[in-house]
Symmetry: D2
Subunit: 346 residues, 4 copies
């Protein structure tokens, strides 16, 4: 059956699987202390134009959010995120499990507004009782967001400026970074991101890897962008240190070679653009305007019933009594043929 | 200087201090395993008409909220509260520190609406991804609320019914229980509360005691209202077990004798009613309509400046550019003379 | 360079890699809700002769210990383990991070003694202050242990009996389960293990998989052996839920086919037996008598210096001023040729 | 009935109760931001000859240990204590609840040995796997100890030196500080303690107060002795911030006046010395040699049976099949008459 259910439903890009096959008889030391990891880290530093950056490999997105946020947020503080942010909604309380509150502000099609962040912090510090409240301790955004939207360079810089004004690092969740940075209209490169964010990650799970997220502490030279002390121990403490770290090194080594990561990410956006065009032509209602691999469409029940006989679509929520928001999600692996079939069905 | 800043600015009611003086040369075993505690618990069971209730004494409100919520909420769940709820705003993240998320719904003058609670839970369980989200695990409300408002018996029963429908205990924060239950227009007695809530507490800190909150697990006979297993150990684990537990027993023994607790609580409401009347007469704007010991008034700056030379008022937040919400708070200890002085100043 | 450093230095068994290649173009739903996982679980239930067992797949060992122990241990309790137990020593405090104390008793070549466990618990409950102490809440042992030793069926049954006597589940860490159950002299099968333990795991990371541990709640029908409520949510809360759960299903499906898991595990023990024989013949001192894939040898410095020019050995600790304990570790991937080379060098 | 069960069985010294009575009609601001607290802190700084010291008031001992240890210990680290240390044994896992492991080394009559601490840390950092282990992050000792023994100035300085060598603060639990510093043979003053420790507390609960512990961050000018950032918020986050902080200020103000704290503490030691003398004369076996208010005696059952008809003794543990360790505990409130009665009974 055709599926546009999500972007983690296929194993990995052939180049990644080949790389794993190639190294499968080699012997490597454990926990990421191997040459493959070193090589992949060097590639990442280079593509980010961030020679001082410190790179770490983790397994999954929620895990990475939990480990990084816990490590960069002071004990007395929480993480500021938009209400629709993944750690606030779909991580089963992983942040609170680590002792921190998620402090929420409104989202705008999934995005944070720098001005509202500023107002939130200003209000906090102006409150006579702020010492009895949870301090804003770091800022979390994602690129692309939960709703497939993207930040412009100026928007992200503005958020970083506010974060720094209130002594907070800016953490960018890049579970879908490839899709964000290669979207039509995105004015930001990974170099830009590395220059703006204090820590971010390059998502592998959803962009060509079997699994894996590459966390980059950018080490701008300021107080926020350095690596948390004894970070390896903190990763282990969260149960997040992969024994065969070389598997992560191998995958990111393959993905970062010859621009593969961005090339395959772009494929998803191209496919999504074609679908968006078809949806528009056929009079469908897009729930959000967004240029990346996630398309949210508000459909009526007969349409859903008809489509669901032929194609699996993703996440749904009720829009009103007779309409539902459906997600069409492309990926690095989506083929022209699959897109054609879907368009035919629409 | 005159002060209406809060309801915990004086030590304790003379009867409480006398009781402590009376027992001061006696020897008691530790950690609440003494006769004074037993006697006070018996009085509480009696006044609540809840012969099976299990009573525990803790020191303060945030502590009690943290210990009770942590003990009654499953690991995979959070506590549902209104946005203005004390644990969500003014407990420095004590709930998240214990690993649980505070799941918020809107407040209405500080109160939770049973229908909205129902909708929140229904939406949660209708979401295809609910297993990736924080389950609603218990319900927290306060009587009286942060804004001095009170629940009617029917309103609280409706909330309890929804809580139970979704397999959650209802926990009622009674830091200001005396003020709530003796307010003009309150149609609920402590017997009613004990019949509706699964666990609640009788606040001592703000109603006549030096310190102390009496937690009542009501043991209705259903699954929610029992005492958490090894609760003493859980209290100790939170650092909340008072060595000289008999001090708590002695205070509640005094407060629960001859209706003292409610008598002195009523005093605060009578004083507040007189102030409200004067405010109305003088054209002040009440921020909320509320019948208990907390009066929120929206004042302009000249008024605030004038008053602040003679009287300390409480908690403030900006209403708009030229107005501020001020709190006038009476207590069990407020005298007629103090009220007269304040009214003169208004 | 030759390496006997550890048992997780090679990627995966060819059959596992083939399986991943075979499924690489298929589409699967996320988070383990796929057919591959179902199929692998069915195989595991069958090999365990435990038709009611509930199987879950996690990524790594420390993660599995943290998630399982946290889920099966009450809030007021800790996990009882021997002093040398992995969660007590080499998990960076992952158990304490989840709020539980590791309660330690002495080890005997890495093993727990049922009598000492009984005495520990009896002493605990006989202490007048036990409510001020951390309750023993579950029992953790590993098969094989940190020192390569194994429990007999009778020994493990005795530990289970004591655990149940004190109302605790028995959790068996099987990170090296294959090596334990196929060791010369082991009188226990995986069916026996499933009949004795309340929860255990089949380690994949060290026995042929890229990564992965299969957790088995045995569901004996008693109170201890069931699955913790909302376990998926608890896994997610720990950041431990793999998006592409089908990768775990695929690997265990391959490993559990045609007895592959045990066949390749046995290879490591055969290799280790040959090395042990050679060590004995050459007069080396074994630090522990143990029949599995880990050989601990107490060596003097000149020997270590000589060997380290040609072969990487594992974990070391000082035995005395002139001797060090070295670990020779074989694995499912160790070849005859590697063993021959090592024996030559000894 | 006569009782030597513990040192927290009476309410408070008359001077403390008088002070509370004297201030009972005054109005104070909340949370310790009052003049009484300021005054008490000034007295403590003076008696400690530590003008830069920062003083905080908490309610109880386990609470203080949890809050302070959590605040001064890095996320990746634990607290080093002797096996018999209170946080390791009798705090229901309050330290682990806050996420930190208690790293134990042997005790010698309740005391830590600086050399063994050094060896523990040296071994830790010499271990090739130390990044997978819990770092030693702070050092906890108590003065006097769980067994009533005391550290000499040189012993405590040696422990501080080792702690600092490994980048750890030294935290001294002074729940029984008065009894420790006024014991016969103690060569240390509170000035000495303030010069050696990085943080310590002056126990009120067991020495004349209703409740309360005064935490002193000594601010020696090095990295360890400063106040943790946003400590008030961290206290609140633990549920440990007393609303009526002025009650703590008032009590310590009374205790620190005219040397009252040490005068009444000395009373307990004098009483204990008399009892020890009588025990020796009558041929009893002291379990530990210790000069403070706790006397541990190994008794046979007939003796225990006889005594228990007339006097309550404290904490017991089995010494062997026919003997038990009993605790005779004097306090600031023990009278000559009580001592005479007890000696008569022995």
């Amino acid at each position: 059956m055709l599926s546009f259910e999500n972007d983690y439903s296929r194993a990995a890009h052939p180049a990644v699987l080949d790389e794993l096959a190639n190294i499968s008889t080699n012997l490597y030391p454990g926990y990421g202390s191997d040459d493959l990891c070193e090589q992949a880290k060097a590639r990442i530093r280079k593509v980010c134009a961030a020679p001082k950056a410190d790179v770490w490999f983790l397994v999954g997105g929620t895990q990475t959010n939990q480990v990084v946020i816990d490590a960069i947020t002071p004990a007395w503080a929480g993480v500021v995120a938009v209400e629709s942010g993944h750690p606030n909604v779909h991580e089963a309380g992983a942040i609170e499990y680590s002792g921190h509150k998620v402090l929420t502000i409104p989202h705008h099609n999934g995005k944070m507004d720098a001005g509202e962040l500023d107002e939130f912090c200003a209000t906090f510090y102006a409150d006579g009782n702020f010492e009895h409240m949870v301090f804003p301790g770091c800022v979390y955004v994602s690129q692309s967001t939960e709703y497939g939207t993207i930040y412009s360079k100026a928007e992200l810089q503005a958020i970083a400026d506010v974060a720094h004004k209130y002594d907070m690092p800016l953490f960018v969740d890049g579970a879908r970074l490839g899709y964000g940075l290669t979207a039509t209209g995105c004015d930001m490169t990974i170099e830009d991101l590395a220059a703006i964010a204090d820590v971010f990650y390059i998502g592998g799970t959803k962009v060509g890897a079997l699994f894996g997220e590459a966390v980059v502490f950018t080490h701008h030279g300021d107080a926020w962008s350095g690596t948390p002390k004894h970070f390896l121990t903190q990763i282990k403490q969260h149960g997040a240190l992969l024994a065969k770290g070389f598997l992560l090194g191998a995958q990111f080594d393959a993905l970062m070679r010859d621009d593969l990561y961005f090339t395959i990410a772009r494929n998803a956006n191209v496919a999504a653009d074609r679908i968006r065009e078809a949806l528009a032509a056929k009079g469908y209602t897009l729930t959000f305007e967004a240029p990346t691999n996630q398309i949210f469409v508000t459909m009526d029940q007969p349409t859903i019933d008809r489509l669901s006989q032929h194609v699996r679509l993703g996440f749904t929520e009720k829009a009103d009594d007779t309409h539902t928001v459906m997600r069409i999600c492309t990926s690095w692996a989506t083929t022209d043929d699959e897109v054609n079939q879907l368009i035919e069905l629409l």
